[in-house]
Symmetry: C2
Subunit: 596 residues, 2 copies
Amino acid sequence: MYRAPVEDIAFTLKHVAGLQAAIDAGHLGDLTDDLVDAILNEAGRFASEEVAPLAQEGEKGTPLKDGVVTTPPGWAGLYRNWIDGGWNSLTGTPDYGGQGLPTMLSVATSEMWNSSSMAFSLCSLLTMGAVEAVEAHADETLKQIYLEKLISGEWTGTMNLTEPHAGSDLGVLKTRAEPVGDGSYRIFGQKIFITYGEHDFADNIIHLVLARLPDAPPGTRGISLFLVPKFLVNADGSLGARNDLICHSVEHKLGIHGSPTCTMIYGDGKFGDEPGALGWLIGEENRGLACMFTMMNNARLNVGIQGVAVAEAAYQKALEYANERTQGKAPGWQGEGMSPIIEHPDIQRDLLTMKSLAQASRAIAFSCAHAIDMADSAEGRGDADAAKFWRERANLLTPIAKAFSTDIGVDAASIGVQVHGGMGFIEETGAARLLRDSRIAPIYEGTNGIQAIDLVTRKLPQSGGEHVKGYIGELREITAEVGRKNNPDFGMTADKLDEALADLETATDWLLQALQDGRIQEALAGATPYQRLFGLTSGAVYLAKGALVETGDALENGRIALCRFCAENLLGETSALRNAVTQGAQSLIQARSALG
Amino acid sequence: MYRAPVEDIAFTLKHVAGLQAAIDAGHLGDLTDDLVDAILNEAGRFASEEVAPLAQEGEKGTPLKDGVVTTPPGWAGLYRNWIDGGWNSLTGTPDYGGQGLPTMLSVATSEMWNSSSMAFSLCSLLTMGAVEAVEAHADETLKQIYLEKLISGEWTGTMNLTEPHAGSDLGVLKTRAEPVGDGSYRIFGQKIFITYGEHDFADNIIHLVLARLPDAPPGTRGISLFLVPKFLVNADGSLGARNDLICHSVEHKLGIHGSPTCTMIYGDGKFGDEPGALGWLIGEENRGLACMFTMMNNARLNVGIQGVAVAEAAYQKALEYANERTQGKAPGWQGEGMSPIIEHPDIQRDLLTMKSLAQASRAIAFSCAHAIDMADSAEGRGDADAAKFWRERANLLTPIAKAFSTDIGVDAASIGVQVHGGMGFIEETGAARLLRDSRIAPIYEGTNGIQAIDLVTRKLPQSGGEHVKGYIGELREITAEVGRKNNPDFGMTADKLDEALADLETATDWLLQALQDGRIQEALAGATPYQRLFGLTSGAVYLAKGALVETGDALENGRIALCRFCAENLLGETSALRNAVTQGAQSLIQARSALG
């Protein structure tokens, strides 16, 4: 059973991602070390003791009958306890009952919820996205009606983007919104893949829906964002009539079986006096995509956290099995009978690979959250330069946090199945569930291919390429420190990190040049290998950053050993990735002919 | 829907794996080109038109009631048609009604069955294993009773190895066999993970069961192999009493839902006058493991073929979707509206990666089958040197064919889900099923970690290391030919192949030295990266071998382009794998402390 790795999480937050320095510099208000520890410990307890034991119940699915979805046994009560613990309101604005805590704490706790059950935790991930969009773009009236209950989690939120023909490309969506004349709109259309579009956790569900106004220009410049509640809300805040929207079906999916993925129909006349679901505009007309991006950026980071979370959960599960299961005699085994399979070098490689990737991706995701917090803090104190710097840092790390983490989530979950041998293929073991659950994360909130395009075409060119170069320079500093340390336990770590950074630099320069030359197709051909090169290198350097922290105990030795394992066993891939970026495009384009 | 790639399969068989040369040299009896084509075409038709349409039915599972398993709708009839087509008897000895065809044809057709449905095809994979064990080790009486019906497929076979505490390590199994005195034995025990242990395809099921005799020595030297039929067989060949064995339960698995994975109980007294399932010894007492290895070697190759098959099926499915689905505008897209996603460079990379890996692993597996056929042929004509050479070649390639192919099967299936975006996560699409099905292949018939141990500790040292060196020398010859060709379409292929071969040589020498020095733990630490290094390099060289064949048509251009893509985009990983072998052990061993 999952035990929240509170110590690892706290260490990475404070000493790798920069929470400690940010607290010390006063950038995070009156947040204290003690409060951080108290929050992490209590979240760890709740995740391990209350969420994890109900995770496997999620496999019972979410049956739909007459538009009503029943969530898995115990989950509605769990959700109630979870919001009563204040976990939904962590980052919400204090003006509406939120705790106003930094994003770093939100992602740290989010990792624990998602390790214990990705399917359960998804509900709040969507609600938090809705909170952000409403906080940032809705008018005061909407905020007054909806924000407090969304922040507390008493009501939940959804994101309605995708339609059958509009996935990655939202420009072609067809859902329409007709102005009623009183400031409200009537929404008509069908949305698919709506996570927690219908459920029994809460009394009301607040749908954020992208739709087109009658005279909207075509493409992405003609999309507006609407708030469409399941139940209309009376002036006194009580629930009124059922709005004209319904869950038409629930998908039969590979994983996250406890999370209802709904097809939602708006305005088919099932409820209300006249057809059309009543909705209210969020932000300006035709600026819906910009509003959506507010919530999508953080949602991308939160999906990245799911990758970290599933890697951690898979690692723990495999480790436990490898310590218990005996089979064969490992080389050098002195004990009685068969050795635990953890003594076999190949199993050690599996477990160390999982642990390295989990820790590296955690450090990336937490660093991204740190950048968001630093940007917010700089904006708050009116420091425009710092705000620009940190916003660019967050922008740069978001696709890495999303794509690298979710890719390694799948990898780690797959290795986890393998460590279990035949038992891994049996559903009751639970390792297979982690693999099934993990597989959605590289897809939703922008496929990892889309993230790579975003990284290369929008994030690298920030500040004319200077931001990414500065970032790589920071990583170089850490690597140099490993060299100066001259500790033999690091083995070849410094050299290996240097080589990887050189690969990253070469590939970055090549891409910036290709963009400048207008060789877009060539740049995009290498986008995915570049994204992995970036994630692997920065993740390994972050492991080194942690390994440099001197605590003088066994944990320090373990961090150094893991960092060295990662550098000497996993990082070598960077030269291949560099070549794929700088030399691979031509053959890729030529080989189009080899496809049907 | 899957269409058997008969042309690709025939080409690889004849021009890469060596079927053409073997026919021309008269090593394969009176087998002709025309017969090969006729068999492949008809198998292709059957796989595409009859098996594939019923594949998704397998998701309905195999319910068990009172010891009786019901297979998915239509499958029992499909099985009947399949054996009526003679597909089960392809390689069986003509003495008992088999067609005596070479293993190359068996694996080529097996690929097609497994692409269309892995779960359906598993039944015959096990039967063929039983046929081999009975052919090679059973006495004439048993052959007379069982062999013809196993070869035709009228009866099916199983392999009963695993027990709850004995998986990879069979030395600790507990099932026991008590001599009755008349040449038969009574078997008592429980076996798990028995594929098609019970079903409704056939009138009788012939279980091959590993068990211990009363005075057997401990460990693997005390295991004997028994033939235990579900129904006893009367002297006239008709079915007699039900034997005392029963399917106790069917596993709830991640994939291959149409294939019943059974827990079998022998001798609990449910059937017959006295407890104990009646069985007959195959081969000598306490030599059961040797008999089992006869069937396991070929079974490993056949599982490797499942990896190839699922990669091909996933590729085809993703290709079809990528051609149909439109989204966004790819760079350079001149058409109306959105472009098909296949025009996006990142999707091309996905598809080319899948296709490269499928073709490379097919070439490895077929080459392994070729070696088996050549060894059999050499033995048949009493050429001991050739027999030794080809047996060593088959031995060397078997773990690669098993492990590399099944690993890339999972990779390709996972990429296939990704290409489908959100639809890939929906079960009805079928891409997720391929991923779920693929995940068992790296586990069963010896986990891929076990294959790596086998490769390093038993296959590399063959003929004092000379065999593997000779093999690498052959690959070098092919690479040199690419260089001599001087065709600019090959791009940097020759150089990249040379680098990979140098990596393979370095790692091979390092491992041979480590074995010689008795540094077993260090050698095993690098076994899995070495296995992938071997598979990737040899697979890429085989692509080059095919690309060197001049047909003068578009297929030739496609083969060259794919070979180049593989060399320039995928092969770069070899330097990292070499380093993991030659430099990674120390850090791996040190990092044991970082695990719990």
